[in-house]
């Protein structure tokens, strides 16, 4: 098994899927000659040519819409949105079209399309290069929203997304791209979309989170272990539709739940996680369901002190777990 970075796992999955199935192709802004502004598609145009690695005009709605049309025709487009923040002009194509096509055509047509987009903060990206945008898409039946935290999950879930016969929004944390490294098997594996994953077993407090915050939670848990506090960590991996069973089990296990997201608090997807718990295993709880999230301000500012103030980090999580443990 090779150790690789989160972004290299993206590239590897794309390469392997393009080799496996000639219907898979990539389109987006700067994905070709430039290999993507983060270099996630580096090397693809050299390997597969510009008819399968398409530099598009600067038009997100058309990128999504053209992808949909190609998918309707039988291809498996993998669309890149350069930054998740810039997916917003494509919302109509994604929500009104991609997500509703199977349903509205009574199963006659389908859209096997993957939309990749780098999201998340902590990269001096300011208001429009730092946002978490999953909540906008996490009330859209017909769509799946995948947000992996490790290189291993990236490879397995991106391959699964590309092979899925429905549209998948695949969100990659841009701070994780080079920060997070991990072992990735060489073989061709997929991981199930819609399944959460226990990233650490513990008894005192359950943390449910996703994306980069999984790593912050793991760091906090390690530290707390030395104090005798045992933390259970569930990584949602797919944030829509949620893995209700795994959430209920993880919450019931310790009876003390901390939900963590990097998104603004109100209306984030952890509200739904909380509601699932409150609906299904309320009497297993020994403490209020605690949420740790970004403040309710438009997005994180550029200036370093303000950005830091916004971001989730291991210390904030550690503090919240300790409070819950002591509750």
């Amino acid at each position: 098994m090779a150790v690789m970075s989160y972004i290299d796992a993206v590239t590897l999955a794309l390469k392997e899927e393009m080799a496996r199935d000639e219907n898979v192709f990539v389109l987006g802004e700067d994905v070709g000659v430039r290999g993507g502004v983060f270099r996630a598609t580096a090397g693809l145009i050299e390997e597969y040519g510009e008819h399968r690695v398409i530099d598009t005009p600067l038009t997100e709605s058309a990128i999504a819409g053209v992808g949909i049309g190609a998918a309707l025709y039988g291809m498996r487009p993998v669309v890149e949105m350069q930054f998740a923040d810039f997916i917003l002009p494509a919302v109509n194509q994604i929500i009104s079209e991609a997500a509703k096509i199977r349903y509205r055509s009574n199963n006659d047509w389908s859209v096997p399309m993957t939309i990749r987009a780098p999201y998340g903060g902590g990269v001096h990206g300011a208001l429009y290069h730092s946002q978490s945008i999953e909540a906008i898409f996490s009330n859209v039946p017909g769509l799946k929203v995948v947000m992996p935290s490790t290189p291993y999950d990236v490879k397995g879930l991106l391959k699964a997304s590309i092979r899925d016969n429905d549209p998948v929004l695949f969100l990659e944390h841009k701070r994780a791209y080079r920060l997070i490294k991990g072992e990735v098997p060489e073989d061709d594996y997929t991981l199930p979309i819609g399944k959460a994953d226990t990233k650490r077993d513990g008894d005192d407090v359950t943390v449910i989170t996703y994306g980069l915050a999984v790593h912050f939670a793991l760091q906090a848990a390690e530290k707390l272990e030395r104090e005798g506090i045992s933390t259970h960590i569930l990584d949602l991996r797919t944030v829509y539709p949620l893995d209700q069973k795994a959430i209920i089990e993880a919450a019931s296990k310790t009876g003390k739940v901390l939900l963590v997201t990097e998104d603004n608090k109100e209306g984030s997807i952890i509200g739904e996680v909380s509601a699932i718990i409150a609906e299904n295993c309320l009497f297993d709880l020994d403490a209020p369901i605690r949420r740790l999230a970004g403040p309710d301000i438009p997005a994180m500012p550029y200036s370093p002190p303000m950005e830091k103030f916004f971001m989730i980090n291991p210390e904030k999580i550690e503090h919240a777990i300790r409070e819950l443990a002591e509750f």
């Binding site: 038009t59 819409g65 509205r104």
Partner: protein, 330 residues
Amino acid sequence: MAKNRHQKLGLSDEAVLEMYETMLLARKIDERMWLLNRAGKIPFVISCQGQEAAQVGAAFALDRDKDYIAPYYRDMGMVLAFGMTAKDLMLSGFAKAEDPNSGGRQMPGHFGQKKNRIMTQSSPVTTQVAHAVGAALAGRMKGDNITCLTTFGEGSSNQGDFHESANFAGVHKLPVIFMCENNKYAISVPVSKQLACEKVSDRAIGYGMFGKTVDGNDPLAVFEAVNEAVERGRKGEGPSLIETVSYRLTPHSSDDDDRAYRSREEVEEAKKKDGVLTFAAYLKEVGLLDDEKEKELNKKIADIINEATDYAESAPYAEPESALKYVYEE
């Protein structure tokens, strides 16, 4: 006898008669739908009336066994030409389970039928334009030599999706035909408040594509323009923007009352140029149609529509719980 125009275009006598029959069938189904709506039997109608000539003329210029269409809600003439039947349309009007467009899930006018390469449509206007471009791109990748034609109203030609899609097709020189059915109104808003250009086809040059405006009441003129566009596409010369100018003869939909915003005189004036009438006159002039044949044709169409209506009316609805199906692959 008048000048025979269709032979010069390579259209046989049978072909133009079939064109007329398709136009008339669309018109008559549409008229029946209004009756059913006013009788309280179907909740909604949105009409093709006034645009059948453009729709059918365009469809006949395509390879109807191979090419793709991404039509909009008025294109009953076009989908009939592409293989949808009166029964299919009535099933959709009555929202019955057997409706091939959506199983009764969508309003009538939201066409889609994979077996006939009619791409599925939604209500938000102009989204389909991008899908046509994507299908053309995919067709080229797969080495299929196909054309995609997509339609939309003149109001919809102002949506961002039109611009982005036209530009994409222009850059990639894709065989897409963007056909704007200009019927002078977008609900109540006249074209003068929608667009500041003289012709919608003036926009073609901005995408480096071929553009042409033709009389949308004349199926032969539309056939000719679309035919030219098809050939350009096949030769790798890229997309075209065709504008067909006619008039919306009905209110916007069964929920609209157009007396609030346009005069009866204007509507009556437009009715004189109605393509269904003028094309019948042409066929008579060139000796392909007479009153007798016309009567027979009307009878045949009435029978088809009656049968379709009866069938659809008594067909079952989908089960309530079936609403849960097909959100994702099953």
